[in-house]
Each structure stands twice: as structure tokens, then as C-alpha cells.
Amino acid sequence: MKTIRAIQFGPMPRPRVLAKIYRREPADVVIESSSDTLLKNIGKVIKKYIDLMNKYGFHRFSDGAYWSDDILTPIARGIDNISINGLVRFYDNNFFYRQPVVEGKIKSKTPSGRVVANLVSRILKSADIDLSKNIDKISITVPGPFTFYYRSLISTSYYSNPYSFAKDYMYNVLLREIEYMEKQNFRWIDIHEPELAKRSLDIEENKAINLLKDFISVLNKEINIFIIMYFDLNLKILEALSRHIEENNVYIHIDPISKPEALYYRKRKQLKVTNLSIGVFDSRNTKLEKYIDISRKLRSVLNRVTADNEIYLSHNAPLEFLPEVIAYRKLRIISRYTDKLNLRLKNRE
């Protein structure tokens, strides 16, 4: 059997020291006008985190997204015809984001400083790390088109449905991110799509996935597209993904923890995607998982969903919902468990 790898994605818990700094110089202006001191301070936090991720042997990981209050605001600020509204609950968490208001046809603002990948690249350069050894492991965190649409206030008649918005968002906003990533040698884009995980989805699965498929087909195959779904599990979407998307550079993340019953809903037959990431470690509970429970859970997931190529192990949703100390303990457990599992698989051969 092939090697199973440990991976991380999404924002990490913000250390108090960084919050203190941001109170003087807000993180969401990091975009163009931020001072070198601010970048250096974020850089210090990132270095500590990336060193640990390497020490734990993670195959790939985000930059920690320490620069953003939430995953929507930084990218929203880089888009024309979007303004930022008040605080709104992020799904069913006691966590709030600033709601984007879509006021007309969206397109990227012109200066490249407004691209998230540029921001990440600037911060990484100010951190004391060897970029040549890390850049192909570090992912850029962006909200997916459907999550962006449904977490925004649509105050224009220009977009009467999520599909027309998704198309503009992918080709006018995400594509620009990806082009910038290529220039900087990034290899991973993490498209956060909790909206697609919802069982009460308002979206027509095949239509949504076909849009994604068309978009992926125009992209450079060197960039890995990681579609990350969490807080719920929608088997219909997963089925559509397994049917329509076969590209080797596409990875699908599922969360079988938040609503465990969702795994057993509907179809009996096993679904197969190209590359699969399974979030069996709970990022919304401080309890540290026991290996035996994880193995049981993993077996039951693999009975329903599996992959042709890679299988990754991860946390179910972003780790920022945990206290920092617990987030790091979870990462250590993910890495140790993965090592143990690989050893067992190897011995069995």
C-alpha cells in the first residue's frame, strides 16, 4: 500500500503577542501599506510555526494565515465592487467574520499588492526561513466561489445565482491569485468550501462541479488545487466530484467528524476520488484523540470514500477554533499517528 501523508491547512490560532501588535497596526491593512516591523513580527511567528511543521514531518501546510482576521476579508478587499460590512457568525461557530457586500460585477483591483499570494510571499520573505526548501509545501488560503457567494450579502441584481458569480470569481479573482503563485513558485492553493459540505445545499451539484472542472482545465497542472470542505459532509457533492474531476492535481478534503451521521446517509456504494484528504482529527474539540478511535473512524470512512492516488490525513476544519497549545498538540498527534500507520502498512506488506 502507498504511503499516507499528514497535512495541515487553514488559519492557525493567533498568538496573543500578534494580537497585541495588530491592535496597533491592523492585520487587514497588511496588503500594501504595512510597515517592515509588522511584516517582521508576523515573520517571527511564521518561522516558529513552519519549523515545527517541518519537524513533525508534514507533507504540506498553509502559511498559518496569520495575516487575516478571517479568510474572506483580505481577498474581498482586493476585489472591485465589494465593500465590507459588519460582523456575522461563521457557520455555527462562536466566531465572526466581516461580511463582504457584493455591489456589482466583480473583478480584481489593479495593483498586484492586493493579491493574497503576494501578501503571503511578502511575509514569508520577511521571515527567517529557507524559502527554496519550503515554498512547494506552503499553501495559499482562499475562500471558494460558493462559500464566498453564500457568506456575502449580494446587493446587486447583477448576480441572480451562485453560478454566474462563481464563474466571475474563479476567472477574475482566483485565476489572478494562481498566476501570481506560479511566478513565486507556490504549488498549493487551498480553496475553502465549507458551503459545498452542507447537506442542506442550495446548489445543483453537477452544475457547480462542472464549473469547477472547466476552471481547473485551464490551469497550469503544476499547481495543486485543494478543495476543502468542512463543518458537514455532502455525499452528493462528493459523488459529483468523483464523477467529473479526474485531474491528478486536484485534492478533495472531507470532514467526517462534524456531522458523523452524514457519512452513512444515502448511497451504500463506495465513492472514489483522485486524491483524498480525510479530516479525522477534530479541530473543534480540545480532546486529544486516541489512536484506536482514529483507526476505527478511518476504516469506516474508507469504506465509503477512497482515492485512486494519494490519501492524506488531517484535521477536519481549520485549527483556529482551538487554543494554540491544543492546536499544536493535535498536529503532533496527526504526525505521530500517520507515522505509526505507515509503519503498520509497511510491515503488513
Binding site: 466566531f95 480540545t286 480532546k287 482551538l322 497549545v325
Partner: protein, 338 residues
């Protein structure tokens, strides 16, 4: 209820939801305490003095039913979790921007080993010059929802354990002379699929309680909540309406015999409301609810506002209410009993 029959209040009694801005000197004192530069005795004296002054401030403004401003509480869930056995704190988690909350984790069987808030209530009751005060308790569902559950089988089991602890607390407050307690449940509709059992959990709190009980639910889905109005065993519902531009007021039709604590002041906006706007809002509510069933309050706790603005907002609320009382008096409405 029955125990309160002798307490008379003007029609449309004015009250608060609970928290009030901490005086600047109190914040400094707390900081000194955390740095180890003053002791617990000094801190307690400061808390008492702060309660005295914010209660007096509410009374001067004309609030009929003041609270202690929750001067002693940093955060509504944290405060209770610190005082109930079985909770542990690993560190802060972010709620928005640079605002953190010490989200507790349940790591063992939870137990109430001593009273949590009785001393707090007794102090408030002693310093007020009013006949009745409002005393606030965080509800069991919100405590469960804002905690990590490491110990109990599921959230229902955890929430019902907390409900029995909160019920004990409320009954002890009742025995100590409390006349009006408000249970705060801002999380109640966060998970629509859980509201069905969450309503039973919040009703657990009312067992053996004869004094007036209010339930405060804010920044929530009131359409969902209104489906459960007839199952709630509370005397009053305190809801936020200024924040939503007084939309959804028609849900008040479904309240039947439950009173409304009508939120008429936006606590997240620093600009002080026009008196006429508050008046119009109350008039609009009276289309759906009889005036003797309406209490007037801000949307939510005032603690995030600058103190001066909080005071001025209460002033506007009181004077708008007084104008309407004049109108109501001509129609024969003057007093109600608590």
C-alpha cells in the same frame, strides 16, 4: 409571579439586559490585580464600589429595574465555568478580530460545589434603592455550546447537567430574595437542528422557581425561535430589535401570555438614538402586544460602549418611554405588577 404581586411598576417598566461599561478606574484596578500589585481584598472593594456607582447611575437616569452591570464578570460563560467544578481552561480562542475568549473545556464530571452568584446578588439587592433588580445568569445551552466537551457522551448530556446546576443556582437566589432573574441564551438558535431539545434544556432551569424569569436571546434567528414560544416556560422574553431595524416585530403576535423585553437601543453602534425613533418602535410593538406586557430595555448588554454613551442611550430610552406613559395614562394604563 405570585410572590411578586405586591411590587408595583409604572407601565412600560424600563430595565437593562445586564452588563454595563466598567468604570475606567475599575479596569485599571483589575490590571493592577492581575499584575499582582494589589490583593483580592482591594479588588473586591473596587468591584463593590463599581456596582454601587453603576446601579446609582442607572437609577439617576430613571431605570426602574437596574442590574449590577455584571461588573465582576469578564465574560458570561467564562465566569460560570470558572466557578463550576469539571471545567478547565487551555487558553484563549479568537471570536473576531483581536478579541479572544477563554473557551472552557469540560474535562470531568461537572459539579456545583458552592453557590456561584448569591453574594453578587445580595450586594446588588442591598445597594439599590429600587423595589426590584434584574439579576442575570448565563443559560445552560449557551455554556454547553461555548465549551469543548471532552467528558460527556454528547452535548445534550452536558447541557442537561449544566441545566440542573443553573436550576440549583436560581432556586438559591430565589430563597435569598431575588424577584426577577434573566437567563441569557445568545446561542439558542445557533444550531437550528438542536433547538428542539435546547428548549427543553432551558425549561429545566425553571423547575421549582416561582419568581419572575426572563429569557434573553440576541443576534439570533427569531423566526426559528418563534416556533417554540408556546413551549417556553418563561414569563418574559428579552429580544433585540434595534439592531435589526425593528424588522421581525410581527413574531410578537405569537407570544401569547409571555411578556416582551423590547430591545430598543442598538448596543453595537455608538451614535445615540433619536428619542422619536425609540417612541415609534415601542408604538409599533404595541400593535402586536398589549402595553401591560411590554418592558423596555436595550438590545443587549451595554459593556462594549463607552460609559458616557451607554448612559446617554439609557436616558433617551427612559424619556421616550415616559412620553408614551403620558399617552397611555389617558387611556387608563398607569401601573402594572411585576
Amino acid at each position: 409571579m405570585d410572590a411578586n404581586r405586591d411590587i408595583k411598576l409604572p407601565i412600560l417598566p424600563t430595565t437593562v439586559i445586564g452588563s454595563y461599561p466598567r468604570p475606567r478606574w475599575l479596569r485599571k484596578t483589575i490590571k493592577l490585580y492581575r499584575q499582582g500589585r494589589i490583593g483580592e481584598k482591594d479588588l473586591n472593594e473596587a468591584f463593590n464600589d463599581a456596582v454601587t456607582s453603576v446601579v446609582r447611575e442607572q437609577e439617576i437616569v430613571g431605570i426602574d429595574i437596574p442590574s449590577d452591570g455584571e461588573m465582576r464578570r469578564d465574560e458570561m460563560v467564562e465566569y460560570f465555568a470558572e466557578r463550576i467544578e469539571g471545567f478547565k481552561f487551555y487558553g484563549p480562542v479568537r471570536v473576531w478580530g483581536n478579541n479572544f475568549f477563554n473557551k472552557p473545556a469540560v474535562v470531568g464530571e461537572i459539579k456545583r460545589t458552592k453557590s456561584i452568584t448569591v453574594d453578587e446578588f445580595l450586594y446588588l439587592n442591598e445597594v439599590t434603592t429600587r423595589d426590584v433588580v434584574k439579576f442575570t445568569i448565563t443559560g445552560p445551552y449557551t455554556i454547553a455550546d461555548w465549551s469543548y466537551n471532552e467528558y460527556y457522551r454528547d452535548k445534550i448530556e452536558l447541557a442537561s447537567k449544566i441545566a440542573s446546576i443553573i436550576n440549583q443556582e436560581v432556586r438559591e437566589l430565589q430563597d435569598n430574595g431575588a424577584k426577577f432573574i434573566q437567563i441569557d441564551e445568545p446561542a439558542l438558535t445557533t444550531h437550528p437542528e438542536e433547538v428542539e431539545w435546547a428548549v427543553d434544556i432551558v425549561n429545566e432551569v425553571t423547575k421549582g422557581v416561582h419568581i419572575k424569569l426572563g429569557l434573553h436571546v440576541c443576534y439570533s434567528d427569531y423566526i426559528t425561535l418563534s416556533k417554540y414560544f408556546d413551549r417556553l416556560k418563561y414569563d418574559q422574553l428579552a429580544l433585540e430589535f434595534a439592531n435589526r431595524g425593528f424588522r421581525d416585530l410581527d413574531i410578537l403576535k405569537k407570544l401569547n401570555d409571555i411578556e416582551i423585553g423590547l430591545g430598543v437601543i442598538d448596543v453595537h453602534n455608538r451614535s445615540v438614538e433619536e428619542e422619536s425613533r425609540v417612541e415609534r418602535a415601542i408604538e409599533k410593538a404595541m400593535k402586536y402586544v398589549r402595553p401591560e406586557k411590554i418592558y423596555i430595555n436595550p438590545d443587549c448588554g451595554l459593556k462594549l460602549l463607552p460609559r458616557e454613551i451607554a448612559r446617554r442611550k439609557l436616558q433617551v430610552m427612559v424619556s421616550a418611554t415616559r412620553r408614551l406613559r403620558g399617552v397611555l395614562a389617558k387611556k387608563g394604563y398607569s401601573y402594572i405588577v411585576l
